[in-house]
């Protein structure tokens, strides 16, 4: 199944696009404790997740993402501001009403949080038992869920008999048991290896697409965002520093924190030994280093051969990378171009005609 990101132009907040999850001016301050002053974990968070979307919140540990996701199901209460899910102001509910509302908000966890003394089946049945569903109905509901997550043959296994990926599948089935509208994913793949992570993310994408469940996920891994999120919010120091469609955020990051997250996976930084010898002005008889950035459909064009044929120059490749972000190709290529400023100007204009972005990084001898 290929990932078709949902496009929303230009921005849901400004277009009145109905947000299923909404935070308005949310602040969370933990009161002072012996020895420590009060800690403000979240400052003035305003964020919307449109119905049917997957929003990824990325931040380092301590950035406040954990608190943010727990506000959505009321595990944490905001100090001020509103948290609204499907028109219900979660932050204003009493305990009993909140417990009811939580049944429409599933949650999965980094460490799965399965009951060790319940089988896979009984773990998935737990939220139904809590909701007071009769046992005959529970059985009718749990088996299809086990099949959905690909564990139809593991119903009687205890968590200790399952692999990490299988445990998270049970966690996902459990979170879906009460037919929620929203799924909260708290670092759900952080304890898994890359291959298992891919499988779990594919399952979440299916859950989103087939069951139309809106997903809010938090992670510290840009690769998770890249694979699954329609939109991204970058959180740093308890503030959302940047938010937007995943592809835009990757290709045109505005904030330094976003850039550092992206550099960690796209490899868009020059290798240090080349960066060190880079000159700002042309060097006689030397070469210029140019970064070509190609996005969307351009990425698959044979632009390198087109350029060399057209300009009759020899291009050297210094560094390159093609990545798929939210299902769209995005590539960067650093090339070396010999000769004078004239040739360089011809190259850059020819590249622009082909729809590439160009940036002269500097000159080497």
């Amino acid at each position: 199944m290929t990932f078709q990101p949902k496009t929303l132009l230009p921005d849901p907040a400004t277009q009145g696009h109905p947000a299923l999850i909404e935070m308005r001016g949310v602040e969370k301050t933990y009161p002072a404790r012996s020895g420590n002053g009060a800690v403000t974990a979240l400052h003035d968070i305003t964020l919307g997740v449109p119905r049917g979307f997957i929003l990824g919140v990325i931040g380092r540990s301590g950035a406040g993402k954990s608190t943010l996701i727990r506000l959505v199901n009321g595990l944490e209460r905001p100090t001020s501001g509103q948290v609204i899910v499907d028109g219900v102001e979660i932050s204003a509910l009493g305990e009993r009403a909140l417990r009811n509302e939580r049944r429409s908000i599933g949650m999965i966890f980094q460490h799965f949080n399965l009951l060790a003394r319940r089988t896979a089946f009984d773990n998935i049945a737990l939220p139904l038992e809590i909701a007071g569903v009769p046992s005959a109905e529970i059985k009718a509901r749990v088996m299809p869920l086990l099949d959905l997550v690909g564990l139809g043959d593991k119903a009687d296994r205890y968590p200790a008999e399952l692999s990490g990926g299988q445990k998270q599948r049970v966690g996902i089935a459990r979170a879906l048991a009460t037919n929620p509208k929203v799924l909260l994913s708290d670092e759900a793949t952080s304890a898994l290896d890359p291959e298992t992570t891919e499988q779990i993310l594919a399952l979440l994408r299916r859950v989103n697409a087939e069951l139309n469940i809106t997903i809010l996920l938090i992670t510290h891994e840009m690769s998770v965002i890249k694979t699954i999120a329609d939109r991204v919010a970058v959180i740093d120091g308890g503030r959302i520093v940047e938010e937007g469609p995943t592809f835009d955020l990757f290709t045109q990051p505005q904030h330094a924190t976003t850039r550092s997250f992206i550099a960690s996976i796209t490899g868009s930084e020059l290798p240090p030994h080349i960066a060190r010898d880079l000159h700002a002005a042309p060097v006689g008889g030397g070469k210029a280093l140019v970064r070509l950035t190609f996005t969307g459909g351009d990425a698959t064009q044979p632009f390198l051969s087109v350029l060399t044929r057209k300009l009759a120059v020899d291009l050297g490749i210094i560094q390159g990378n093609v990545d798929y972000i939210a299902g769209q190709p995005y590539g960067t290529l650093v090339i070396s171009v010999p000769g004078s400023g004239d040739q360089l100007a011809t190259l850059t204009s020819a590249a622009r005609e082909l729809g590439l972005q160009t940036e002269v990084l500097g000159y080497v001898a």
């Binding site: 199901n73 595990l75 417990r99 009811n100 509302e101 939580r102 049944r103 908000i105 599933g106 949650m107 966890f109 460490h111 949080n113 009951l115 060790a116 003394r117 319940r118 737990l126 939220p127 038992e129 809590i130 909701a131 205890y158 968590p159 200790a160 008999e161 459990r174 009460t178 909260l184």
Partner: protein, 225 residues
Amino acid sequence: MLPDVLSPQMMSLLIEAIGETLHMVAVAGAIGTLIGLPLGVFLATSRSGELFASPFANKALGLVVNAARSTPFIILVVAIVPLTRLIAGTSIGTQAAIVPLTIAAAPFIARVIEGAIRGVDQGLIEAARAMGASPLQIVRKVLLPEALPAITLALTLTIVSLIGYSAMVGAVGGGGLGDLGIRFGYQRFMPDVMLTVVAVLIVLVQGVQSLGDFLARRFDKRARF
């Protein structure tokens, strides 16, 4: 001539004593659990920020439990004689001995149950809360079942301690193995009776511990594969 340890009279005394000990330990253990289990659950869930947060009551109960547990058992037996008389109608005999045994067992059980429940991963409580579980549902469906292996071991420890305590209630005519050992083995200089009593106690404690270990292993579904 006093009866030999293997004589029919001595054997019947021994069997009677074993029966008395088992009776006292079983009843005190059962009633102690009825009282101690909820107290232990409360101790484990009532600090600030917990399910039934009431830090003041938690502190107060903790103090009472500590006070009860630091009172030497033999002093407790004597000190609560009026209460014993009120509950059992007498202050002498096996029935009467059950009162101080229960009062000693309950706070002990409360503490060991608290420990067992505190051993349950906090993440499970969070997951249950996220499912919309009420605090009571969390206790019933998550904390108690998940702590069952640890609770089994805790109750085993309690029963072993009670067997030890029950030997002291001979002081109020409680009967049982300890009483037999003191009256015949010590006061009448019958070392073979004393040895037999000790041997029976060892077998009893071993049996209880083995059974407890076996059950705890059965209940424990964590990695052993």
